[in-house]
Amino acid sequence: MKTTPKTIIQSAFSYALLIGILFVFFLPIISMLSVSFKTEAEIFRSSPSLFPASINLDNYGRALTRLNLGAYLYNTLATSIMYTLACTFSSAMAGYALARFNVRENGFFFTLVLSSMMIPYIITLIPFYLLVKDLGLTNRHVLWLLYGLGGAPFLIYLFRQFFATIPASLEESARMDGAKPLRIFFSIMLPLVKSGTIISAIFAFQWSWQNYLMPALFLSSLKTTLAVQINVAFQDIQQNILLGELMAGVMYYIAIPLILFFVFQRYIMQGMLEGGVKG
């Protein structure tokens, strides 16, 4: 690009716009951090200030014990990891079936998978909960594993797109050598969609980590996840919300999805932009 006065003004304008939008998106995050560093007295001052007087980490220490972070982190990780593994695995299988085996029913099943997105999951989850409760099987983390085995429509769609880009010759030659379908899938096809698998796992993990209703219905207060616990942990005896500690607790809760995102963002950005989703 040539540096004429016109292009300089243009790019200055672009950056001003981009930074302005960034500021708007970061306001709530700034607010969260600011409140988490303030003392309760500072938060409720009659004319509160935008920024804390000093970086005060007391809230982070107290939030740790109030949230009982160790126990609930374990619950959240256990449920999320089980759901992620099961859901990614099952979605990969279904996506593979829809991408590679063009039998007559293929179109019907593809439509059915996509349509199942239209069923609000609450409408199916509440009856499912009542059924499971009748069987006395609630309050088990392993339910997340089972629930994940049903796969997720969007992930199936994603896997279908990824599998469709792989040339058929690879499968053909393996089949000629007499390899069974499951073996072809695990040893040839699945390793070829590594970035698709990572993206799907991230989305599945994110969904499970933030899901509120499932732990709220199925798990007791000791076995529940952070998504539920974060709503009840930060009250004093008069049931006032302790804002500073709550924001510090929220920081703990969002840390793991954020770290995962930063570690794997390369895959998400590339995968989604280069042939992941097609209209």
Binding site: S14, L18, I21, L22, F25, L27, P28, I29, S31, M32, V35, F44, P48, L50, S90, M93, A94, A97, F101, E105, N106, S116, M118, P120, Y121, I122, I123, T124, L125, I126, P127, L130, L131, G150, G151, P181, L182, F185, W209, Q210, Y212, A227, I230, N231, V232, Q239, N240, I241, L243, M247, V250, Y253, I254, P257, L258, M269, M272, L273, K278, G279
Partner: protein
């Protein structure tokens, strides 16, 4: 000839066997987690079942007649519909605009993409709490900022007087997902089209109109349907963005105000708080049918009015 036919049916059979082998988990999951529960719910909605009722009897469509006469339910459906519509506008218009902004040829666009997407990674319950404190009348950062800048002289009760706005703001904050879908769409447009338009001397606005918009229309259609469906399914945010004063108020999942008392929280409330199981399921089923019908109508319109290289 005959043997060739036989081998082809053999392959066909093998292919079908493999297809069902790989679909089996999904089919099983669909049956157990979706089909059976939803039919069970329908069955329950035809009875007089309460949370603790002993004598359950079949009452036919009586609950459905009650649903159609229930002003509270109508109010909730209306509120949900308005929210979904506005949220769809935000997701599509702003998501697309952001995608265009970060798709320009300037240095550091990857950085902006990443950080515009970031709020979407924050779990939704955390989003609710962060925004509840952000919007709080007395201690919220927004009011502090606006009064420091001299824009307002009296604190605004965002959560009390502008509840719908606050829930929509959460949707706006999480627009990164939509931006990503549109960026994926923009990446599919061959750059030769823009080169050709350059040769013809078309300006940026004209290029947007004759190339970008038609080429991206399937993504717009997709985002419209998905945003609408997800909007109809909003559940947790209205509970968290509750106008109850933070100091002195209880942290309960009490009912949100009318403008944000959406239909799924309403169904949940009927079933678990009021114990009206059968009636609650009737409400949920009506919601399901509404979403289904609207989506089908929508899909039909979108199919006719978008550009697509594929048939059918």
């Amino acid at each position: 000839m005959k043997s060739k036919l036989r081998t082809s049916t053999f392959f066909e059979r093998e292919k079908r066997k493999s297809f069902y082998l790989f679909m089996s988990l999904w089919i099983l999951g669909f049956a157990v987690f979706q089909l059976i529960p939803i039919l069970w719910g329908f069955n329950a909605s035809l009875t007089n079942r309460m949370a603790f009722s002993l004598k359950v009897k079949f009452v036919g469509f009586e609950n459905y007649l009650k649903v159609f006469a229930d002003e509270g339910v109508f109010q909730s459906i209306y509120a949900t519909f308005i929210f979904s519509l506005l949220n769809t506008v935000i997701q599509v218009a702003l998501g697309f605009a952001l995608a265009l902004v970060v798709n320009t040829r300037i240095r550091g666009k990857g950085f902006f993409r990443l950080f515009y997407y970031l709020p979407y990674v924050i779990p939704v319950v955390a989003t609710g709490w962060i925004l509840r404190i952000f919007f709080d009348k007395n201690v919220g950062t927004l009011n502090i900022l606006l009064s420091n800048l001299g824009i307002i002289s009296q604190n605004i009760s965002w959560l009390g007087d502008h509840t719908l706005f606050t829930v929509l703001a959460a949707g706006f904050w999480r627009v990164g997902w939509s931006m990503l879908i549109f960026l994926g769409g923009l990446a599919t447009i061959p750059s030769e089209l823009y080169d050709a338009a350059d040769v013809d001397g078309a300006g940026p606005v004209r290029k947007l109109g004759i190339i970008t918009l038609p080429m991206i229309s399937p993504f717009i259609a997709f985002q419209c349907v998905v945003s609408f469906i997800y909007g109809m399914q909003e559940f947790i945010l209205p509970y968290l963005l509750n106008p109850t004063a933070i100091r002195g108020g209880q942290v309960t999942m009490e009912n949100p105000p009318r403008a944000t008392f959406f239909i799924l929280p309403k169904g949940y409330d009927l079933i678990f708080n009021k114990g009206r199981l059968a009636y609650g399921f009737a409400v949920l089923w009506v919601t399901f049918i509404i979403i289904l019908v609207l989506s089908l109508i929508y899909a039909r319109i979108a199919k006719k009015s978008t550009y697509s290289e594929m048939d059918g």
